[in-house]
């Protein structure tokens, strides 16, 4: 009889395990298998603790099985919730860091340009565009002027246009997903964090496009 129960349990739990298919997560598989396992253990308990075993034996057996199942269920569900929460936290922290890096780094050269512009003598005054080009003589429109020594750091600051009166820039979040997955980034990618900034003689303003 033991062998029939073993085979039955192995087949039921294995089938349940593979029903959700293959993904990057184990949870769908082990949750399905967990439900099947619980049902199997309940059936097994009903069988193993049936008469002629005395009432007290049966009661203690059921109490132990159900009590342990509840505790395991609490730990199981808790781990499921906690690890998904941690996963989501990692991604939101990444977004906060990426936005923070863009906003902390990107305005600096523009503020330097702006300060130089307003500190000039009226005579032979250079334009915003000319002063910006002085900072990055080799930079072409569309080029990236952000300097990083980390290969995993894919944040890009791309100048979109330079005129006498304004400079347009895009801050692109590398591989950090933004709010909308469908958003089309300046380089044709989709769903990545992106900021658009503009420098004029009145200041530097920006807008988070995604």
């Amino acid at each position: 009889m033991i062998i029939f129960w073993l085979l039955g349990g192995i087949v039921v739990v294995s089938v349940a395990f593979f029903i959700p298919g293959t993904s990057t997560e184990l949870w769908p598989n082990i949750n399905a298998a967990g439900i099947a396992t619980f049902l199997y253990v309940v059936a097994l308990t009903a069988y193993a603790f049936r008469p002629p075993l005395p009432q007290l034996n049966r009661a203690i057996g059921w109490f132990a099985v159900l009590g342990t199942s509840v505790w395991i269920g609490i730990g199981w569900r808790g781990m499921d919730e906690t690890t998904h929460w941690q996963h989501d936290r990692l991604l939101s922290v990444k977004e906060v860091i990426t936005r923070g890096m863009i906003l902390a780094e990107l305005p600096a050269p523009f503020l330097k340009t702006l300060e130089a512009y307003h500190n000039q003598q009226e005579k032979n005054k250079l334009t915003i565009g000319q002063l910006f080009r002085q900072q990055f003589p080799a930079l072409t429109v569309g080029g990236n002027f952000r300097d990083t020594s980390f290969t995993s750091d894919k944040i890009v600051f791309s100048v979109q246009s330079i005129s006498d009166h304004d400079v347009f820039v895009i801050g692109f979040g590398g591989h950090c997903k933004g709010r909308e997955a469908q958003f089309t980034n300046f380089n044709g990618q989709h769903g990545i964090v992106q900021l658009e900034g503009i420098l004029t003689e009145k200041g530097f303003s920006y807008d988070w496009q995604n």
Partner: protein, 249 residues
């Protein structure tokens, strides 16, 4: 009342021995500083002691991969079989051998050290080795999660405030200092700087500014944790003297 109508003293002794042996095994395994774990490395490839912890590990690993900018791979069949094997061993094979072996033994159709008795002992070891640590493990997991949620909530609030100070507020401050007075700026000074209403009170904190010519001090008071404050001084294009109080310390 005969010995066969209640849990016999012998059976209770066996149960206690299982529990004690499991605790001793767990204790020595934990205390071995990796030596025993290394020996069991091969077994570890085949067996994951607590499947839901293994699944949690995969979820965290996926998060770290995405954090680094990668895309998590679909699980391999080997990885899935490893967890399935554990589930079957702990929750199917263990309880089946233990319950049915115990029943046979209890009803008197098997003797001590008989085949049924040996299967019952094996099933008991398999089941108890996970069931016993699982109960305190669940309690600790719950307590740990609650503590982590609270700590993270405080840290998130702190991060949001730092992000505001280092981002939007710093930009406003610098623009004010750079722009000439004729354009509403400070003409090279912080003096006269006032935070615009949308930055003076946000969803996460209230911010107040105290300015002198060369130094601007901004103090943030959390709206979620009112005793938690942060303050920082802006000097020309740089931060100085970060200070934290309350829950942010």
């Amino acid at each position: 009342m005969t010995g066969k109508t209640e849990f016999s003293r012998g059976f209770l002794g066996i149960l206690s021995a299982f529990a004690l042996a499991t605790l001793v095994m767990v204790f020595f395994f934990e205390q071995s500083n990796g030596a025993l774990q290394d020996r069991f490395k091969f077994a570890g490839r085949l067996f994951s002691p607590i499947p839901w912890i293994h699944a949690g590990g995969v979820t965290i690993a996926n998060g770290l991969t995405e954090f680094r900018g990668g895309t998590p791979d679909a699980l391999t069949l080997t990885g899935q079989l490893q967890v399935l094997f554990s589930l079957l061993l702990i929750f199917v094979v263990g309880p089946t051998l233990f319950f049915l072996g115990w029943r046979t033994y209890r009803l008197g159709s098997a003797k001590t050290f008989s085949k049924e008795w040996m299967l019952m002992v094996l099933g008991g070891i398999l089941s108890f080795s996970v069931m016993i640590p699982a109960i305190p493990g669940s309690v600790m997991q719950r307590m740990g999660s609650q503590s982590m949620y609270k700590a993270q909530a405080v840290q998130t609030n702190k991060d949001e405030i730092v992000s505001m100070l280092g981002g939007e507020i710093q930009l406003k401050v610098e623009l004010y200092r750079i722009l000439p007075k004729a354009m509403g700026g400070g003409g090279g000074s912080f003096s006269g700087f006032v935070l615009p209403p949308d930055l003076a009170r946000t969803e996460v904190a209230t911010f107040t500014a105290v300015a002198t010519d060369s130094i601007l001090t901004i103090k943030a008071t959390s709206l979620l944790y009112p005793n938690a404050t942060a303050s920082v001084q802006f000097q020309r294009q740089r931060f100085a003297n970060w200070e934290w109080s309350g829950d942010f310390e």
